[in-house]
């Protein structure tokens, strides 16, 4: 009799923790997915934008005394704006270049960012002061749920709703979807694809910065953040399918929950799970869940 509730509790735990982790993955990776799908540009500096967001949040909260949530918003907007000159003057020159050249450029940028942030912030990992309501936990009787992770889930859901609305229901969203599906056609219909690129890139980078800021509480922030978690983002994007909001979300959920479940149930298998799931999905659906062949 006690076994069923026990399994139920484990399942709820895994789902909750997995969901929180998935939200982080989604928020940080969705920008990369849309960039790669829309602009056909391999941006391995995406992790560096996330890291920049994190460090801006650190400075805002620690040095300037800004509250955590406003700091997140400011950091996202700032990084979004900063990314615009990168797109217009650097990335744009390589849209027609090969994937390999894009890889080289963005890895170079990532390296430079690591050294730069080491210079300004030092190599010691940073943390952020959280407001009262984000510390501690919510007691639901059978288990305590950390408030911060609940916050992640709620924030993630909110962003998903906003992005979905933006994609599916607005003009701009329609234009983006059109350009992802068939850029030439979109151009010939009169859509200003250049402007679209800049806008999408800025939003994607801003979201990455948000993810970076949220990650500090989960993983700590050090200058190597730019490359350590890059593989994770690439996996989410590949499994979800380039340029797809739905795909990134589904991939984040599947990977987040499986990774959490694996850690809980079979810790010995370690990092295996997330890669095994990746291989399994890609062998069956090479373009990811919602990618286009």
């Amino acid at each position: 009799m006690g076994l069923v509730p026990h399994f139920a509790i484990i399942a709820v735990s895994i789902l909750f923790d997995g969901l929180a982790y998935a939200m982080f993955l989604f928020i940080t990776s969705v920008g990369l997915s849309v960039t790669m799908g829309l602009m056909n540009f391999v941006n391995l500096a995406h992790g560096a934008f996330a890291m920049a967001g994190g460090y801006i949040v650190v400075t805002l909260t620690r040095t300037l005394g800004v509250d955590f949530v406003p700091a997140l918003i400011i950091a996202s907007v700032l990084v979004g704006l900063i990314s615009i000159p990168f797109e217009r003057y650097l990335y744009r020159r390589l849209y027609k270049a090969t994937d390999l050249e894009q890889v080289l450029l963005t890895i170079g940028l990532a390296f430079m960012s690591i050294a730069t942030f080491t210079y300004f912030y030092g190599p010691i990992p940073k943390s952020v002061p959280l407001p009262e309501w984000l510390q501690g936990d919510i007691n639901l009787g059978f288990r305590n749920f950390p408030s911060y992770r609940a916050f992640l889930i709620v924030l993630g859901a909110f962003l998903i709703a906003v992005l979905w609305y933006g994609f599916e229901r607005t003009n701009i969203g329609a234009k983006i979807r059109a350009a992802v599906d068939n850029r030439r056609m979109a151009e010939s219909v009169g859509i200003n694809v250049d402007l679209l690129f800049t806008l999408t890139f800025a939003v994607g980078s801003g979201l990455a910065a948000l993810g970076g800021g949220l990650a500090i509480q989960l993983f700590g922030l050090s200058p190597s953040f730019a490359v350590i978690y890059l593989v994770l983002f690439l996996i989410v994007v590949a499994v979800g399918g380039l340029g797809s909001l739905k795909g990134t979300l589904l991939a984040a959920l599947v990977l987040g929950v499986f990774d959490t479940a694996g850690k809980y149930l079979l810790a010995d298998a370690g990092g295996f799970f997330i890669y095994a799931v990746t291989v399994a999905v890609l062998l069956v659906k090479p373009a990811g869940f919602y990618g286009r062949e």
């Binding site: 190599p123 509480q217 993983f219 700590g220 370690g270 990092g271």
Partner: protein
Amino acid sequence: MKFLGWLGCAALALTVGGTAQAETVKIGVVLPFSGANADLGHQVDKAFDLYVKLHAKDLAPNTVEIIKRDEGPPTGAVAKTVTTELITNDKVQIVTGFVFSPSAIALAPTITQAKIPMVIANAGTAWITNLSPYIVRLSFSMWHPAYPMGAYAYNKIGCKTAAMAYTDFPPGKDSTEAFKTGFEKAGGKITDSIPMGSPVQVPDFTPFFQKVKDEHPDCMYVFIPSGAHATGVMKAYGELGMRKAGVKLIGPMDLIPDNKLQDMGDAAIGTIVMGHYAVDLNNPQNKAFNEAWHKEYGKDSYPDFMSAAGWDTMHAIFDTIKKLNGNVSDGTKFVDAMKGWSTDGPRGHVMIDPATRDIVQDEHAMEVYRKPDGKLGEKILGTTKAVKDECKELKVGRCGS
């Protein structure tokens, strides 16, 4: 006549020069200055720099020249290339530093062949000192804090059962094996042993800790690399309310690195660790050390056990240079002169065991509490004196060879 005068002068100069020659001792410092573990390298490097700055004059008329190189990633290959070149090109007479065990392991044959002393300031795999007669370790082996913690946890903390959670790489496995040996010897029972992912990425600790919480052991022994992991552990432990659920958090001092303690908040209060250093350690050398540190690096910067080891490392090197009058060209002599070296340093009394060339130091059981000034601190609950590396004493596994 004039010619004889010249000859006489030359002979005089040679004899005088021969006795009072000022030597420049070249020391190669190999630490991770860049990459994911740069913070560890910098903690040691700061201690090195501070010691040299304050004590260079003690060596007069001899001087030291420090040449620093990036240890690279924990593959051993870069450390090997870089250190080999320090020896063959820069002609250093001593190499020191080495945060990663693979670096020291990779270099053992090289320094044996070159007869260059390698004074380890961190690398903690127990059997490293067996690999070469030219290795001297000033820092610790994983067994130093972990083995005594086993007995202490059972006898003094009231842990009859314990679960172990560790980052899945050799230091984690060594530390938990050491704890298990000590714990079971004292009568305790290990309920679970959970690997928690690789050291490179800080994982989400929640699923691992939730599992332990569901098993209700008395205590949870955690080993993680000092740094960002430590903060993650404390946050997860706090968020899951494990202390309230009756699962005590114990571990080696890596669990509460001094430079991250203040960030850990209330969740850390009540954590008991076994370690050979804490900023709050009450001895005159440590007070002086902390004062000098804050003066040099600011009030928000704290030394930790790696800095303390770094400080003692440079101290040992300097003392040995003094002992040999700056004549350090014979590596074998240098190592012999270092054997049996002892001092009262920030860690308390430390000594180099002549039999193993490894450190012998006191291990303190420490509990985190909130000091009257509001900051978090560690109070000493008890001390095990003159702890040796039990792995080599008991000849466990590779330590026996």
